[in-house]
Subunit: 325 residues, 2 copies
């Protein structure tokens, strides 16, 4: 585990604006405090909510966007409370909320606030990517702290990090990086995803012997190099799925300064052995994510759903902490 | 111009559910009725709104998401009214609305309704892409018709088409295609974008001699083949930027049955000559898009902003109709 970088972040003598701590430093510190670099993915689906929650929600969520959004938010708040002792970070899937249009987006933003209130870092998994000024708009709305006093008395500080698509070129990442650097926030760019069809493009062999994922990795290593924190990691990280262990080792070498966000642990089939190669030799640099195996843990048990979610988070914590011991 | 496919869409004798017309057929018919295959891109920025609109809007849009969203919506409604005689299609940039959080998303959905009320087809430019069930959520929320009676008395029929990112593999497009096919809607997948850095990945040379854009194009041609309309075009189209004429001809050959959505005409530098290669030999199959050169046309004139926008749309129509004459 890293030594504290606090000597580089001494409080200023004057009242000058304090530069926020760098994202990777914040994330690694949070993981150290909780004892394992784990992240719980929050991908709620109305039809799978616990009976107790659905009983108070709409009978037909297809007719009631606000009611469905409220029920989903209530469930996710319970999940956050249950996992907070174990997980330093949650990853919220934007699509699960966007399907309920604007009430869903409102619920999503309130849920981010709830996670922060429980001391958790939040990664918004929205996989955005666009060109020029459109990327600026996404960065402003989805990553930056906003000051809309008609929506909230407090500034809405937004997520701590955002997932982005790098496939349109590194110029399209710049607006996101700029916002992230100013705000002490981070990014995770898609490199190697956990879906069955991801080989179709990501594994295509290039004329120079690399594959597409490798080319993206090298692009990210360059784009992220100016933004290292005290622990040596960039605010610009990479998504590398847990189901692709054969690629993780070489991608780790290509991106030594990138934090890896590693989805697909548990329900998608990734195991502790599979994710080992996502870490650097010093056992740092990866954030392992389990989603459905924790979120819906109560489906395999009887009784109250909250202890089942907490127990699954504790088990996940144990597995990853054990891997790194 | 195509002959009408109406013989394939005869009204059923019984009250059985009517299969909606296929998206490419609908789009080509709409272009024929208006006399040119053009699309106006709606990428509104609060700071560039006409003085008349800003005067009634918030002094500081960073403090008032609802006020800024309403002002933007009011402007876009005026634009839609001004361009409706010339353009069969509008492309709305989701990022411009998402930056105002949930009030922005509400304004976006109301604007889609306004465009439909003016008889326009709507492409939502949201560039979504995700895996498995997350893609299903995006398709449900961003493309499908929704029945949320708490939000609207009428079903919210949503956009007619959505832009999507194909880089995670064709399996991630399937949920979108499924929704589109059932609803008579369409998709435009990113192949060759108009930004300066797009060569970085899209032009990478593969070991088999193709480049990445070509590989994506061939993937789309296969994925879209089962979904052809009466005019021979698939509901799954492609985004091919107007600023890459050198690539348009070969991509056109690789994707003969894909409609091309061609952004970048006008302000981004694409000319009528540049977009010629996006059409098939029968002068069909491309939808040319101009955004800022129409939307902000009043910045180069004095007097009322609406006639300036209308005149720019008329000029755009003339250029593209002339190219195909």
């Amino acid at each position: 585990m890293p030594s504290s970088p606090s000597k580089n972040h001494a409080a200023p003598a004057s009242a000058a604006p304090v530069t926020p701590a760098q994202f990777a430093d914040r994330l690694l510190d949070a993981c150290r405090r909780k004892g394992a670099p784990i992240c719980v993915g929050i991908d709620p689906v109305y039809e799978r909510l616990p009976e107790e929650i659905r009983h108070r929600g709409p009978a037909n969520p297809a007719l009631d966007a606000a009611g469905a959004s409220t029920a989903i938010r209530r469930f996710c708040e319970g999940v956050i409370e249950a996992i907070a002792p174990y997980a330093p970070v949650v990853k919220i899937q934007s699509a699960c909320f966007e399907r309920y249009l604007w009430p869903g987006v409102e619920a999503l933003n309130k849920l981010i606030g709830c996670a922060h209130a429980h001391g958790l870092l939040v990664i918004l998994d929205a996989k955005r990517g666009d060109i020029g000024i459109s990327a600026e708009h996404y960065a402003a709305g989805l990553l930056a702290t906003t000051t809309f006093s008609d929506l909230s008395r407090q500034p809405l500080i937004g997520p701590d990090a955002l997932t982005v698509s790098p496939y349109l070129g590194s110029d399209t990442l710049e607006p996101f990086v700029k916002v992230a650097a100013a705000a002490g926030k981070g990014l995770f760019a898609l490199v190697r995803t956990s879906n069955p069809g991801s080989d179709e493009l990501q594994n295509l062999r290039l004329a120079d012997g690399r594959d597409v994922a490798q080319a993206i990795a090298e692009m990210l290593a360059i784009a992220g190099a100016p933004y290292l924190g005290a622990y040596g990691y960039s605010l610009l990280g990479a998504v590398v799925g847990a189901t692709k262990p054969q690629d993780a080792a070489r991608l780790r070498k290509a991106m030594p300064a990138q934090l890896f966000l590693v989805p697909g642990f548990g329900a998608q089939g990734g195991t502790a052995d599979d994710v080992r190669a996502c870490f650097n030799p010093d056992k740092q640099g990866a954030l392992i994510t389990a989603s459905r195996s924790v979120l819906f843990a109560y489906e395999k048990t009887s009784g109250d759903w909250r202890p089942a979610v907490a127990a699954a988070a504790a088990d996940f914590h144990r597995q990853i902490a054990g891997l790194l011991a």
